[in-house]
């Protein structure tokens, strides 16, 4: 809301620098956005929050200033001299859509002389950013900017049969507005028509056919109240936002309607001449009576934490226009003013008193009672995961929760349901992601295009897995990509498990994902539960993402990790007797899996088993034969009861060798 400094001083005798006004209003709820000079006047811009439409006019801001500085507010009387003819004999008004237009008033001034506005009026409008048009139009804009009530003036002579009908549009009805654009009207818009045609888009903009011109002699002054939601939708659908629609959207002062109409006519008579028809055509509902609101003085202390003298409280409320109907030592009852539709409850009055009394009165050093706070298990696990991943060289990325359709389709291991879609795209993307892998691959591409040498990325974020008829499942995943090889990335996963003291067994099964190379990928199972996916991105997918070089990705379900984590490990006595190690080198067929051999080794070693360390896999068709590989490992053995002798260790080893031969066809290689 742009305020003219000179104009404001018409209503309240401010004898202070403008900066002081800006500061006090800011501390009372009107943020100061800026001040600029316009032809010897100052245009002061205040931000008006949506609960304070009363401040969308000079009088509203003047009222706030009057309260803050303890000055009187001078309201124009808006008294009009009426002619002999009765307006209801000249003008007919009918509201066909009372849900869209609550009330419509019309006054008629006949025999005006339309001309350019006097300099003072033009200057007022120019300061607040409005271009002068002619005296009649300028007066209606002036009153709008004065009190916040939008008005419209029609060339009465062009209204067919002198009639106003407020109705919904007919199918395919259009209107040429005063901006000389033609608008197609929707079925839920509020239309102002004469006996036949559309003459204005109610509360939004007037029509070209009845606009005031130098030929206009008789002027119909409309002051109405339209339904806020309807105005908002109309303005949005037509992409036609006006000073008028802005105010109707935020609710106008229902009791200010008639004042604004009279004020407009008063100025027309003064500046344009003519004669005002007696009375007013006032159709629709009258402003509802305001219910009284009680403020218990004890509530001020209870909510604000400070005592305010009841006398001061009553003064503040009265200055703001509340009518006191009762008061005693404990409470005051007031009827809030019609322009403050936001004041209906006790808490609203508490806020009014607080902001005028001043928030600086509230102390900032009271003792707030202590309370324990609990760090959740998930939060602790999350911290550990972040620590391990950064220690392994991964940088944390943050990507948008939505992706475009190709990215969404590229990888969705957690859900077969189609991705949820946003009605409005976010940065060109509208699918709520079901995996973070595609987003991170896109981030990888960004880095490759910047020629960044080392790109190791992770992100811990939610995926959105649709469930028909319910909120989606929002699972947290740990996602990463790397240019390092499969076993490195798998090692990272194993390190994660180790750092969280996860006791469960990690298994690998075929991944079965389109994105991943079937030869270089797996799904990871923790004690049979799906933990995640890991693998190398296939060539075609690399091309889709415009990536160079081998790219490993992994995505793990955070919940599985968090559940398996052992955050408080139990002490185990350190062994008293030394361990013995034996190297093993088994030649097996390609189809034999390490995990199976390892299981046999451990089972056979039984109570002596301490550790089994994988060293390498070695292939040499000449020495080992086609389709063979040799698995190198180191076995650690220990006996809890005493020192394990070399002979005993050899015996265990021999048993392992025969068991592996029996179960896996393994040959010990010397």
């Amino acid at each position: 809301m742009i305020v003219s400094w000179n104009w404001l001083k018409q209503y309240v005798p401010l004898d202070i620098p403008v900066a002081e006004l800006e500061r006090r209003l800011m501390m009372a709820g009107l943020n100061h956005e800026g001040t600029s000079e316009v032809d010897g006047d100052l245009a002061v811009d205040f931000e008006v929050t949506s609960n304070r439409p009363d401040c969308l006019g000079h009088l509203g801001i003047a009222r706030e200033a009057a309260v803050l500085f303890g000055l009187p507010l001078q309201m124009p009387a808006a008294q009009v001299r009426e002619g002999a003819a009765r307006v209801e004999e000249l003008v007919k008004v009918r509201i066909d859509c009372p849900d869209l237009c609550y009330r419509y008033t019309a006054r008629l001034v006949r025999g005006v002389k339309v001309a350019p506005s006097p300099a003072w009026l033009a200057s007022r409008l120019q300061t607040v950013g409005l271009a002068p048009v002619n005296n009649v139009v300028d007066i209606s804009n002036y009153v709008l900017m004065e009190c916040g009530q939008p008005l419209h003036t029609f060339d009465f002579g062009r209204l067919k049969q002198g009639e106003i009908v407020v109705r919904r549009p007919r199918p395919n009805e259009t209107i040429e507005a005063i901006d000389h654009k033609t608008y197609a009207l929707g079925p839920e818009m509020c239309l102002i028509a004469d006996a036949r045609d559309a003459v204005a888009i109610g509360g939004v903009m007037g029509g070209a056919s009845t606009e005031i011109s130098t030929r206009t002699r008789d002027v119909l002054v409309e002051a109405a109240e339209f339904a806020p939601l309807s105005i908002r939708n109309t303005a949005r659908l037509l992409n036609l936002h006006s000073d008028s629609s802005y105010r109707f959207e935020r609710k106008i002062d229902p009791e200010g309607v008639d004042w604004a109409s009279r004020r407009c006519c008063e100025l027309i008579l003064e500046l344009c001449g003519g004669e005002l028809a007696a009375g007013v055509v006032d159709v629709g509902r009258q402003p509802p009576a305001r219910a009284p609101v009680v403020l218990r003085f004890s509530q001020l202390k209870r909510i604000l934490g400070i005592d305010i003298d009841p006398q001061r409280v009553r003064e503040i409320l009265a200055a703001l226009g509340n009518q006191e109907t009762a008061a005693d030592q404990k409470q005051v009852t007031v009827v809030p003013p019609s322009w403050r539709r936001d004041l209906t409850r006790e808490i609203d009055l508490v806020e009014e008193v607080a902001r005028i009394h001043g928030y600086e009165q509230i102390p900032e050093d009271v003792r707030v009672p202590m309370a324990p706070s609990i760090r959740s298990r998930e939060d602790r696990v999350l911290g550990q995961v972040r620590q391990v991943l950064t220690a392994c060289g991964f940088d944390e990325a943050m990507t948008l929760s939505v992706v475009d359709e190709p990215l969404s389709a590229a990888f969705s291991p957690w859900s077969d349901q189609p991705a949820l879609q946003s009605q409005t795209p976010i940065r060109g993307a509208d699918r709520l992601r079901r995996s973070v892998v595609p987003s991170l691959l896109a981030a990888r591409r960004t880095n490759q295009s910047l020629s960044n040498p080392e790109i190791e990325l992770f992100e811990i974020a939610k995926v959105y897995l649709p469930r028909p008829g319910q909120l989606p499942v929002e699972d947290v995943v740990i996602s990463l990509n790397s240019s390092r090889p499969f076993e490195f990335v798998k090692g990272v996963v194993e390190s994660l498990l180790e750092s969280l003291h996860v006791a469960g067994r990690l298994d690998a099964a075929p991944a079965g994902c389109e994105l991943l190379d079937p030869e270089q990928s797996c799904r990871l199972l923790l004690d049979g539960k799906l933990l995640g996916f890991l693998g190398s991105v296939r060539g075609p997918a690399l091309r889709q993402f415009e990536l160079r070089g081998e790219t490993l990705v992994a995505e793990l379900r955070f919940a599985v990790l968090a559940e398996a984590a052992n955050l408080v490990p139990r002490y185990e006595p350190l062994p008293l007797y030394p361990a013995v190690s034996r190297d093993l080198n088994f030649v097996v067929s390609e189809s034999v899996r390490w995990a199976d051999v390892a299981r046999t080794v451990q089972a056979t070693a039984g109570a002596y088993f301490e550790s089994l360390t994988y060293l390498d896999t070695y292939r040499d068709p000449q020495r080992l034969g086609e389709g063979k590989k040799s698995l190198l490992m180191t076995l650690g053995l220990r006996w809890k009861q005493g020192t394990l002798t070399s002979q005993e260790a050899d015996r265990v080893r021999d048993e392992i060798v025969s068991a592996c031969q029996r179960e896996h066809g393994a040959q010990l290689r010397a």
Partner: protein, 354 residues
């Protein structure tokens, strides 16, 4: 007691041999110095000790003993001189030998970095935890009850405009997203990406009796055009304290402790400016003193009685405060990041700066 000459001479002899071999064995300056102190030290050197023994020799034998003592002393001193020269030479020779240059950089582990927003969030969480606030989380895809209705944002409120929100295109979504809405808690109805983390407050209060003292944080979504200070997805952190006798003075005091903790310094002050949020009343914008002026921290207020009622609390029994801060803004100010879009570009050169 008189010491026989032979005994004294034998001691002299022994010491001489011991000293000469010790000096020739000394490999470096340090070892040499140790040997020098041992034999030629001015206070407790062994030569000094023997000199005291000289006094115990029979008067008649003194000239012989004295002469012999001087000779031994000279030999030991010569051995020192020789060893000193030798050590110096060997040190000079070692300049050409390969040896450790400790100024060469070590071999570093490649370390990753946490995203600056994560770092900021973790710091904020830590501070709030010290003030007794426990972290609470909630879904990002929300129903209208939790995102609007329960937060005192009724159906005709402009904040519910489809243009101001990311509604989901699911079955059951009413175009426009206005008019009567299903208030059934947990029911699907219209879904949207949450526009504020206050939704979490509702979810926590719905299942917890007061007192409630939580901090919630996470991603929120608003259809702003991305520029240096806006992004359609951003992070918020919100605090909520509901109990008996909670006042705006408590709010101001908690915010002051929070600001002093995060930005450092005791001389931090909090300023409230009146504002408007549907879910708090009174509502304020919060400023903190900063380098002689004021900077905006975020929004705050006392939980609106309608919100307390919506979750089944009695507004006559309990009161509460809530505050919300934009994490991008805090993080950008802290690290002097001039364009918040950088946070989501994920250029590793950027990530590595923090």
């Amino acid at each position: 007691m008189v010491k026989p000459l032979s005994e004294f001479l034998a001691e002299l002899d022994g010491l001489c041999q011991e000293a000469v071999s010790a000096f020739s064995a000394a490999a470096d300056t340090e070892a040499l110095e140790a040997v020098r102190v041992r034999f030629l030290g001015a206070k407790n050197g062994q030569i000094k000790d023997l000199q005291k023994g000289l006094g115990q020799v029979d008067k008649a034998d003194k000239p012989v003993a004295g002469k012999q003592f001087n000779e031994v002393k000279n030999r030991v001193e010569a051995a020192l001189a020789e060893a000193t020269a030798r050590v110096a030479t060997s040190q000079a020779q070692s300049e050409t030998r390969p040896r450790l240059d400790a100024s060469v950089p070590g071999r570093r582990q490649k370390l990753g970095r946490l995203h600056p927003l994560t770092q900021t969030v973790e710091d904020l969480k830590d501070i709030m935890a010290r003030l007794g606030f426990t972290v609470a989380e909630g879904p990002e895809v929300e129903d209208e009850w939790h995102n609007f209705e329960a937060l005192n944002i009724p159906g005709d409120h402009p904040a519910r405009d489809p243009l101001e929100n990311f509604y989901l295109a699911t079955a059951g979504v009413v175009a426009g997203g206005e008019g009567g809405t299903t208030a059934a808690s947990g029911g699907a109805g219209n879904l949207l990406l949450r526009s504020q983390t206050s939704t979490v407050q509702i979810r926590v209060m719905e299942k917890t009796r007061p007192p409630v003292r939580i901090i919630s944080f996470g991603r929120v979504y608003r259809p702003d055009t991305a520029d240096a200070t806006h992004y359609p997805m951003f992070h918020q952190i919100e605090g909520l304290l509901v109990d008996r006798h909670v006042t705006m003075a408590d709010l101001k005091s908690v915010l002051r402790l929070f600001a002093a903790n995060f930005f450092g310094g005791d001389d931090v002050h909090i300023r409230f400016r009146p504002s408007f949020f549907p879910f708090t009343e009174p509502s304020v914008e919060v400023d903190m003193s900063w380098r002689g002026g004021w900077i905006e921290m975020g929004g705050a207020g006392m939980v609106d009685p309608n919100v307390l009622s919506a979750v089944g609390y009695d507004p006559e029994e309990v009161s509460g405060f809530a505050f919300g801060l934009g994490i991008e803004r805090i993080c950008a100010r802290r690290h002097q990041v001039t364009d918040i879009r950088e946070f989501y570009r994920n250029d590793v050169r950027f990530l590595h700066q923090f």
